[in-house]
């Protein structure tokens, strides 16, 4: 998480300072108006990320309940804790420098301050909205659906929601006293969150864990795979029924769009031809990276069971490997919209997928054998990674995952032709495919060698 946080801080800081000048130079219009136009998406995106990742304050309340502290204090304390969360102050890294630049560039000081304070209040509003809607999946996904649809509509110029929302954000600058309104809204939301929590502070009400209706599922069609089927069935249930693994799947879905940075020319630094392979690997490799690198940690909560059963590591690994392959193929098909940017782009995706299947699928499993981070399947804590996941062995293994294919492509591209580059990378994937048994045998040996260390590490709860 530390790495992720630092990364986002750096990105925000860079954007905060640079955004104004980038927008101006690109000739998109008045930077403040442009920022205001997309503010609605920023806010909704923020809410989405909070919903997925921000930890709710209720989890740590239970031990406080029977201590001589009055309830208002407990609620105020836990809500107060959410206010100082990273999810709130991280935005300051963008808005503070951006506002300073606005002042430097001669915008009205009163207007800028009013606008800044108002936006700040809106982000804090998000904080409390998130607290209030927590675990209401239906509402949340409906909102998400509506806004995705609006985004698509805007892209195809069918309907532009920002026409209706940007005047509001512009008014915040034109009429600085409007900031009081947003702060009023914030106070209202904070109060309702406070009363809501206070009223529901019982073990069987607000503090109760969500229990889902369980259904026994057979997946009898997987029986034809014999022992492998046993593991496949379990892995599918693992992915479908746990919050943490679902997040990994959703994250891998977003990886598909990562390529837009490269193929639309949005980021100049990425325009070199070699970067296409980089994009290709990421587009189809989302699941591979977000799920694969944590094998066997997904099974950490019941690893002692697995280790005392008669488990053939080969079948266990093969099952995870199949999931990765299926996901890679599925994302490759989903990513077919890149044809829009030319066949060249989609071929890069396909070549990336071949390399992912042939080489990277083993490499992530290999690297995973060294990652001994227990995973709490029921929470999204550390979904963005964890410092224990960054050790020298796993870092060394990212080289062949990402850098090697770039090198291979560059070789073909500059020595012969772009097509040769693609063929080279594809060939590397095909050759890698042939080493499956060898690599699996090696990973098995690591599993066996590291067994006691892994068991001990998983015992330390996440």
């Amino acid at each position: 998480m530390v790495f992720g946080a630092l990364y986002f801080m750096a990105v925000f800081l860079g954007l905060g300072i640079g955004a104004f000048y980038i927008i101006e130079r690109q000739g998109w219009g008045d930077p403040l108006l442009v920022v205001n136009r997309f503010m609605i998406y920023y806010l909704v995106g923020d809410l989405y990320i909070r919903y997925m990742l921000q930890k709710m304050p209720i989890t740590n309340i239970k031990p406080l309940l029977y201590l001589p502290i009055n309830k208002s204090k407990i609620v105020a304390y836990s809500l107060g804790k959410t206010v100082v969360s990273f999810f709130n102050w991280s935005h300051a890294f963008f808005f503070v420098p951006f506002s300073v630049v606005l002042l430097v560039e001669g915008y009205s000081p009163v207007g800028v301050v009013g606008w800044h304070l108002a936006i700040m209040a809106l982000f804090l509003c998000n904080n409390f909205i998130n607290v209030l809607v927590n675990n209401k999946d239906n509402v949340f996904y409906m909102l998400l659906g509506i806004f995705s649809l609006l985004g698509v509509c805007q892209y195809y110029e069918l309907f532009n929601i920002t026409d209706y929302t940007s005047p509001f954000f512009n008014t915040l600058y034109d009429l600085p006293w409007m900031a009081f309104l947003t702060w009023g809204l914030l106070i209202a939301l904070a109060t309702s969150a406070f009363t809501y929590f206070k009223r529901h502070m019982y073990l069987d009400a607000g503090l109760a864990g969500k229990k889902s209706m369980a259904k026994t599922e057979d997946y009898a069609w997987l029986n034809r795979f014999g022992n492998l089927g046993t593991f496949l069935k379990n892995d599918i249930k693992l992915i479908r029924r746990n919050k943490r693994s679902k997040t990994a799947v959703i994250m891998s879905f977003f990886f598909i769009f990562y390529g837009l940075f490269f193929f639309t020319g949005a980021v100049e630094a990425y325009d070199g031809p070699v970067w296409r392979i980089f994009a290709g690997i990421f587009i189809s490799g989302g699941f591979l990276f977000s799920f694969g690198q944590f094998v066997p940690s997904w099974d950490s909560s019941y690893y002692p069971l697995m280790m005392s059963q008669n488990i053939r590591y080969r079948e266990y690994l093969t099952s995870k490997w199949y999931l990765i392959i299926i996901a890679t193929l599925a994302t490759t098909i989903l990513a077919s919209f890149y044809i829009y940017f030319g066949w060249d782009a989609y071929i890069a995706v396909i070549v990336g997928a071949i390399y992912n299947i042939g080489v990277n699928s083993y490499l992530v499993l290999w690297g995973g054998a060294y990652i001994k981070t227990p995973i709490d399947l029921t929470s999204n804590k550390k979904a963005f990674g964890d410092k224990q996941a960054f050790n020298t062995k796993t870092l060394l293994l990212t080289l062949p995952k990402l850098i090697f294919p770039l090198g291979v492509y560059a070789l073909g591209h500059y020595l012969i032709s772009p097509t040769a580059g693609y063929i080279f990378v594809g060939m590397a994937g095909v050759i890698g495919f042939g080493f499956r048994n060898k690599v699996f045998a090696m990973i098995e040996a690591i599993y066996k060698k590291e067994k006691y260390k892994t068991l001990a590490a998983y015992k330390q709860k996440a």
């Binding site: 379990n234 746990n242 909560s301 280790m307 059963q309 008669n310 068991l455």
Partner: protein, 231 residues
């Protein structure tokens, strides 16, 4: 069946287990008692090769457990909730264990039918995942899962803890039946002296990692144990 030789386990400087010799014959119902930190779970974890011995070794039916995995097919255990898969329903969990131990659905179903009384309608068909069951019901599921696949050695750590009185009595009956068959070696640890003296033919007392008593259960055993722990 199980033979322990010169077994020690150290963490840093502290010795948590030190057993020179312990032989458990086939078919014995073996009870392990001791206060917290006596080394009961450590001994069981060593038998399951979940931790490595510092010195010595354990041989299970002729298989040295830390060098070969051949003991796994005939040994089963329920130690704690890390032996449960929280996101499965009890049925799915039983079938999964069954498949790992070479038993099909019908085999598992017929085994489960024998435990209907023990489950008391709280395990099967509950539309709940294991993680959402109460601690006692989780334990019931874990214990029964350890009976799947006709194991010759069954290791149960604190099986009576968290169970309601009725279930405790039923579990005692089940363990006695297993022991009576003389085919299955049952190893049970407990803090409840009455329960162990009732179900185990032999009781070993651990204290701070050392084997301090080795008793063939008789009428006087409970008294003897109470004196030991009371004094």
């Amino acid at each position: 069946m199980i033979s322990v030789q010169n077994l020690t386990k150290k963490y840093g400087e502290s010795i948590v287990l030190n057993i020179e010799n312990l032989e458990i014959p086939k078919g014995q119902s073996f009870g392990l008692v001791g206060n917290n930190g006596a080394g009961k779970t450590t001994l069981f974890s060593l038998m399951l090769d979940l931790i490595q011995p510092t010195t010595g070794h354990i041989v299970n039916n002729g298989v040295q457990v830390d060098t070969s995995e051949a003991w796994k097919p005939f040994t089963s255990a329920f130690i704690d909730e890390t032996f449960l898969i929280g996101y499965l329903t009890p049925e799915e969990y039983f079938y999964f264990i069954g498949e790992l131990r070479g038993r099909n659905k019908a085999d598992v179903d017929s085994l489960l039918a024998g435990f209907e009384d023990f489950f008391h309608d709280e395990i099967l068909g509950q539309k709940k995942y294991l993680r959402d069951l109460s601690k006692g019901n989780q334990k019931k599921a874990g214990i029964v899962a350890s009976f799947i696949g006709d194991p010759e050695v069954i290791i149960l750590d604190e099986p009576f803890a968290n169970l309601d009185p009725t279930t405790q009595i039923k579990l005692k009956g089940i363990i006695k039946d297993l022991a009576a068959s003389k085919e299955v070696t049952v190893l049970v640890s407990s803090h409840d002296l009455i329960h162990v003296t009732e179900v185990c033919e032999r009781i070993v007392v651990l204290n701070k990692g050392e084997l301090v008593r080795d008793i063939q259960t008789s009428k006087e055993t409970l008294k003897e144990l109470e004196v030991f722990f009371g004094g």
